[in-house]
């Protein structure tokens, strides 16, 4: 059996977290404090009310969104020193996610602890974070502060020759065409003189959001995989 003392300080919520099917929401919330010495019933009460969780409903009968809301309630009320949230919002609508974000940062501001959140809703969640870790097939491709990460790539758009002149030997993640124009996502930060050069070459320059960056990294690695059929053959 695992170390019970350490387990008490950890709370793990995975995607589509399930609890005992026969238990009602009230039963589950009555049992949960036994696992977490730092449990806050005040937080649990506030969240069940904000999420409008049906207290008498058995967990088996809960909708996906309600199950997610219950798991989030337990995670935040646990006040565990290490809280892991793995895509915790399956089935949660936009307003419930907004409640989740508010409660998460509010709880964290008053009771600081380590929260590790994995998410595909990057633009929504980026501002909640301090640090970002981007994984590509299990390898860490970026680990940095969230603000530095947002400056991790930029987008150049214009006529192809001019785009290539500005990009020069920098690392291109994706290229897309629209009519005669080329739009490329470039890895790295903009340089001081890029704006002036862009003006001269009649290019548009914009910083990519963290979500743009992650999407570009993903497409880049997918394209690389299809460019090399021999590695695919070896794999199959």
């Amino acid at each position: 059996m695992e170390n019970a003392e350490i387990l008490q300080r950890m709370c793990f919520v995975r995607e589509d977290q399930r609890y005992n099917d026969a238990f009602s929401v009230r039963d589950i919330l009555a049992v949960a404090p036994a696992f977490y010495p730092t449990w806050s019933s005040e937080v649990a009460d506030r969240l069940t009310e904000r999420f409008r969780l049906p207290m008498r409903t058995r967990s088996k009968k809960l909708s996906r969104g309600q199950r997610s809301a219950l798991a989030i309630t337990i995670a935040l009320a646990s006040r565990a020193a290490y809280t892991f949230l793995d895509e915790p919002y399956l089935g949660l609508d936009a307003s419930s996610r907004a409640i989740f974000y508010e409660e998460l940062v509010g709880e964290y501001a008053v009771h600081p602890r380590t929260v590790i959140l994995s998410t595909h809703l990057i633009d929504e969640a980026a501002a909640l974070m301090e640090e970002v870790l981007i994984l590509d097939e299990g390898r860490i491709v970026l680990q940095t502060g969230v603000e530095e990460a947002s400056r991790g790539s930029f987008i150049v758009r214009g006529r192809e020759a001019e785009v290539r002149t500005l990009v020069a030997d920098r690392d291109i993640l994706t290229e897309r065409r629209l009519g005669g124009l080329l739009s490329v996502t470039v890895r790295g930060e903009l340089r001081e003189d890029d704006h002036e050069l862009a003006e001269e070459l009649r290019l548009s320059l914009e910083s990519a959001s963290l979500q743009d960056f992650v999407a570009a990294l993903g497409i880049h690695s997918l394209d690389r995989a299809t460019d090399r059929p021999e590695t695919l053959e070896k794999a199959s």
Binding site: E102, A109, V110, L128, R151
Partner: protein, 120 residues
């Protein structure tokens, strides 16, 4: 809240919003501005980011900390903000405005006419 499309950090955006509110008198001199926690919950941002926004305003001499109470607007802050914004007005508004006018082939006289018409 997500970063601005020009890649400007969120903490600067929030510091500017609070400064805007101080400039127009929504937060009067010597009254309290929102705390780190209030800002982070309201904008759904990390408390460290909210703290950076407030520290920025402290560094700029716009708000100050009263121990155990929170952040308050410095006396004279609206004047100071107005003076700073006026100094930046040429760079931030007039030059881009004239540059766009030039791209559209408008003469200075035509531009001034447009301004006068809009004023009426």
């Amino acid at each position: 809240m997500s970063p601005a499309p020009d890649g400007r950090p969120i903490f600067l955006e929030i510091a500017d919003r609070i400064a805007d509110d101080i400039l127009v008198g929504l937060y009067a001199e010597e009254t309290q501005v929102p705390s780190t926690t209030e800002l982070s919950v309201h904008y759904r941002i990390n408390p460290a980011t909210a703290g950076k926004a407030l520290n920025r305003l402290v560094d700029d001499g716009i708000v100050y900390k009263r121990r155990g109470l929170g952040m308050f607007v410095v006396t004279g802050a609206p004047e100071a903000l107005r003076a700073r914004r006026r100094a930046a007005f040429t760079d931030e508004y007039v030059r881009p405005f004239l540059a766009e006018g030039a791209r559209l082939g408008l003469t200075l006289e035509e531009i001034l006419d447009l301004i006068r018409k809009d004023q009426r």
